[in-house]
Subunit: 113 residues, 2 copies
DNA sequence: TTTATATATCGAGAATTATCAATATCCTTT
DNA sequence: AAAGGATATTGATAATTCTCGATATATAAA
């Protein structure tokens, strides 16, 4: 079947721009590109749980140099923008990039900006 | 000769994201994509003056629904980010898109985000 | 050189964002 | 049920952004 990937709206794009208008949030997104390189291997969710590439908040926290609460809030902002997705597994919350949104965002830039 | 177009830095990218984290500034950039369509034809700088596609501040002002000073400041923000360039001709200041920066920005998104 | 037009800058208040410590909530383990 | 660890939320203050009117500056016209 042909997946109809809907073009992002201007409003959503602005929300993404806001999310990325902060160096640390950009860093987080960039680190999530190569979780194995930036975080301790055992920390990411194991493949079996079906959230490959996900990194838990405390791991991200220990890399960014911000308080736990700010780290959590920044991840919420990235989540709201659609750039990342999250899954709670037990007591941990794992975040990973939402490559579909990122692809649509790229497309938006090329067509609308 | 092979033009060596330098990759945008993370810092510059964040400045661009900030510039675009406002719907009206995005609108301005979008309108400058088709000046003839959005602004009165005679208003843009004439081709002979070598700044094709440029639109003067007052024309932009009359489209965006913000005060003259805010319009001017928003254009400065876009200018600082590199997304537009400007040229003063007589008493008018013309702004137009800087397609080279925009192209590099697109490339940055694809490679670094 | 006075006047008019176009744009930029200044000063200020409102709104939003950044950031933290403290606390609450949710799971897991005891 | 109590305790502990992980994450989210709350409350607060500082910093930044938004936005305007007023004013300054630059250029053109009279």
């Amino acid at each position: 079947m042909n997946r109809e990937s809907t073009m992002i709206t201007d409003e959503q794009a602005v929300e993404i721009f806001k999310a990325l208008s902060n160096q640390i949030r950009v860093n987080i997104l960039q680190m999530l590109k190569e979780p194995d390189h930036h975080f301790s291997t055992q920390a990411h969710v194991i493949k079996e749980k079906g959230f490959d590439g996900g990194v838990c908040v405390s791991d991200i926290h220990s890399k960014v140099g911000l308080s736990q609460s700010t780290t959590s809030q920044y991840l919420s902002i990235l989540l709201q923008s659609g750039l990342v997705e999250m899954k709670r597994i037990g007591q941990w919350t794992y975040y990973r990039r939402n490559e579909e949104t990122i692809k649509q965002f790229e497309k938006y830039i090329g067509l609308k900006i």
